[in-house]
C-alpha cells in the first residue's frame, strides 16, 4: 500500500514507463546489448523517483540523480535524437528544492521539445549562481511553446510547490528562445542554499 501511494504521488508518466518497457522487451527478445543498461537505468529511475515525493524538500543533488536516470533511459530509447548537455556546478548541489521540480521541467522538455521534433533536439540543463540568488534552466531546441500554451498538471503542481516553499522570492518562467525552442527558467533566492533539516 505504501508503494502504491508512492507510485501515485510520483506521477510517473505511464507513456514513459510503457514505451520504455516496449524498447526493453524488444532488446531482451533480440538479445541486444542495450537491454541490461536500459534495465539498470529504469530501475535507477524508479528507485530515485519513488521516495522523492514523500518529502517536503530535497537537494538539487538528490533531484539530479532522478533526472540523470530518466535521461539515461531516454538516451537509450532515442539515440541521437536526444543531444544532451548537463552543466550544473557541484556548488549548487546543496540548493533546496520542492521535490520533482527539475524532473518535471526535463520531462516536459523531452515530451514537448525533443519528441515533437522531426530531427530530434538539443537538451541543456544548466545552472549558475548570481548576486541575489540562483538560476536553473532547462533549454530545448524543439518546436517551442504554442501560442495558446497553458501549463499542464505537472507545471501547475510545480508552481504551487515552489510558491509554498519560497513564496514570491522564487520564479518559474517558460518562454520561447530566440534561436528556437523552449526555455524553462527557475530562479531561487539566496536562502535556498541551506542545510536540510531532516
Amino acid at each position: 500500500v505504501a508503494l502504491a501511494g508512492q507510485l501515485m504521488a510520483a506521477q510517473i508518466q505511464p507513456h514513459f514507463l510503457f514505451n520504455s518497457l516496449a524498447s526493453l522487451q524488444h532488446w531482451v527478445q533480440t538479445q541486444d546489448p542495450r537491454a541490461a543498461p536500459m534495465l539498470e537505468a529504469l530501475t535507477g529511475f524508479l528507485r530515485a523517483t519513488l521516495p522523492l515525493f514523500n518529502r517536503p524538500a530535497l537537494t538539487l543533488g538528490e533531484e539530479l540523480q532522478a533526472v540523470r536516470s530518466y535521461l539515461q533511459v531516454m538516451q537509450a530509447r532515442l539515440g541521437d535524437r536526444l543531444r544532451l548537455t548537463v552543466q550544473v556546478p557541484d556548488s549548487l548541489h546543496a540548493l533546496v528544492l520542492p521535490p520533482g521540480l527539475m524532473l518535471t521541467l526535463v520531462e516536459n522538455a523531452v515530451e514537448h521539445g525533443v519528441l515533437q521534433s522531426l530531427v530530434g533536439a538539443d537538451l541543456l540543463v544548466v545552472g549558475h549562481a548570481k548576486a541575489d540568488g540562483f538560476v536553473l534552466q532547462v533549454l530545448d531546441s524543439g518546436p517551442g511553446l504554442a501560442a495558446d500554451h497553458r501549463d499542464g498538471v505537472g507545471l501547475v503542481n510545480s508552481r504551487a510547490r515552489l510558491a509554498q516553499a519560497w513564496g514570491s522570492e522564487a520564479t518559474l518562467q517558460l518562454s520561447n528562445r530566440s534561436e528556437g525552442g523552449c526555455a524553462a527558467t527557475l530562479t531561487l533566492p539566496l536562502r535556498a542554499m541551506q542545510t536540510l533539516n531532516r
Binding site: 527478445q29 519528441l115 522531426l118 501560442a147
Partner: protein, 265 residues
Amino acid sequence: MTRQQPTALVADDEEAPRQQLIKALQQAWPELHIVAESHNGVDAWDAWLEHEPDLCFLDIRMPGLSGVDVARRIGGRTPVVFVTAFGDHALAAFDAGAVDYLLKPVQAERLAQAVSRVQARLAPSSAPTPAPGSAPAEAAPGLQALLEKLAGQARRAPPLKVLQASVGREVRLIRTDEVIYFESDSRYTRIVFAGGDALIRTPLKELLAQLDEQIFWQVHRSVIVNHEHVAAAVRVDEGHMHLTLRGRSETLPVSRHFQSLFKGQ
C-alpha cells in the same frame, strides 16, 4: 484488383517498439508484407500516398503529424490499427469505432486478435471499399469527428508565416500568404508565388505539417496549393483531374486520393 500479398505500413518514432511490432507481425501474419517503416507522421502519410498499403499500424504520439492526424488524412480508406503506450482518453473512442488499437509492448495474443479483425475487414465478402477517387466514407461519422477533435489537441508550433529561400546570393523572405503553390522538386521544394519562384530545402512532406490546412490543400503527393488561387478543377477523363489557377497558364495534377476535395455542390 487483387494483390498476391497483403501490404502494411508500420509507423512509430522509436526504433525498438517499431521493430518489436514488426517482429510480432511476422509471427502473427507471415504473408503480410511490410512496405513501409515510418519514423514519424509526415513520413507515414507520404508513405501511405506512395504505397497505398492494405492496412496501417500507427503509433499515436509521433513528431510532425500524430498517428491521429495521419488516420484523419487516410479518412477510412485503409483500416488503421493504433498502437499506443498508454490508454489516454482516445481508447474509449477506438473501442466504439471500426479501428482497432494495441498497447505497447505489443502482446502476441492481442496482436493475433487484431490481425484476425483486420483480415475479416480485408476479406472480399466484407463491406465494399470505396471506389478510387470517391469520398472517404468508411469511417463512422462519429469516429471521424472524434479524430478531428483529438487532432486539434496535439501540441504543435503555430503555422509558418514566412519562408526563407536562397535565390542567387540573397535570402528571400516569402510570406506564406503570398504563395500560390508548392511543388516537390527531387530533394527540394519549389515555391511559386506572385513575384516568381524559389527553391527551399525543406521537403514538401515536412512543409505540409507546418502549413495552415484551411488555406493550403494537398492535392497530390508532390503538390500543395493555396486554394484561394484555384480557378477550377477539371476532370480530364476517368480518374484524372487537374486544377487551373487564377491568372496563370500552368495546371496542377490532382491525384485520385484528393479528388474528393472537388466534388461540386
